[in-house]
Amino acid sequence: MNVLFFGIAKDIVGNSELIFSEELNKPRTVAALKKQLVDSYPEFSKLNALAVAVNSEYATDDVTLNGSEEIAIIPPVSGG
């Protein structure tokens, strides 16, 4: 399972992409992925918001993940 990071999220993990390779570590839902990130990188809990995109669409916490999707961490956006 590959996860893309942008903006401040990229700075927090120190990488633009992380790979969750071990079967046991793979989050099965968007909520689980967020929890795993906050547990591993507490800086995420200080952000205004944290969204997840699955196949380049905003995904709610209950969306399930099988690992074949394009997953991205979307910190608060600030275009314009």
């Binding site: 903006g7 991205a72 275009g79």
Partner: protein, 138 residues
């Protein structure tokens, strides 16, 4: 073409009139976002923009479609720049053309407000001795 959705390295503000010009339209409204020199009295050296491009284009497309339907627009432009931009440079252009002016004024406000809320683009403010991701923290 009815709508133009782009993420570019450099914004050419002059091209937007031709893009929105339309025989059925009686008015064109355009908003240009630019780099401001001061934030809270601190001098900004540059803004740096990055994007999740595939998703950003999809979200911009949705905004354009909603506006076209709601205000019956003839043409729409949504264009955002990425990379480093200096003071007074344009970073975003949105515009609409419609039969009457009320529709394009309202649509233009919706286009920029919604773009700022939903499109995955991030802005880092670079000051003389620090840089800050805008809106990241409370």
């Amino acid at each position: 073409m009815k709508k133009i959705i782009e993420i570019v390295d450099t914004i050419e503000t002059a091209q937007v009139y031709a893009e929105l010009s339309d025989a059925k339209s009686g008015g064109i409204c355009v908003f240009v976002g630019t780099v401001r020199e001061f934030t809270n009295e601190e001098e900004v050296v540059a803004l740096e923009f990055e994007t999740y491009k595939t998703m950003a284009l999809k979200e911009m497309e949705k905004i354009a479609d909603r506006a076209i339907e709601k205000w019956n627009l003839n043409k729409v432009v949504l264009r955002h720049a990425v990379g480093e931009k200096g003071v007074a440079e344009p970073v975003v252009v949105v515009g609409a053309s419609s039969a009457h002016r009320d529709a394009c004024f309202e649509a233009c406000r919706f286009l920029i407000d919604t773009l700022k809320e939903t499109v995955p683009i991030w802005k880092k403010e670079k000051f003389k001795n620090k840089s800050v991701w805008v809106s990241a923290h409370p």
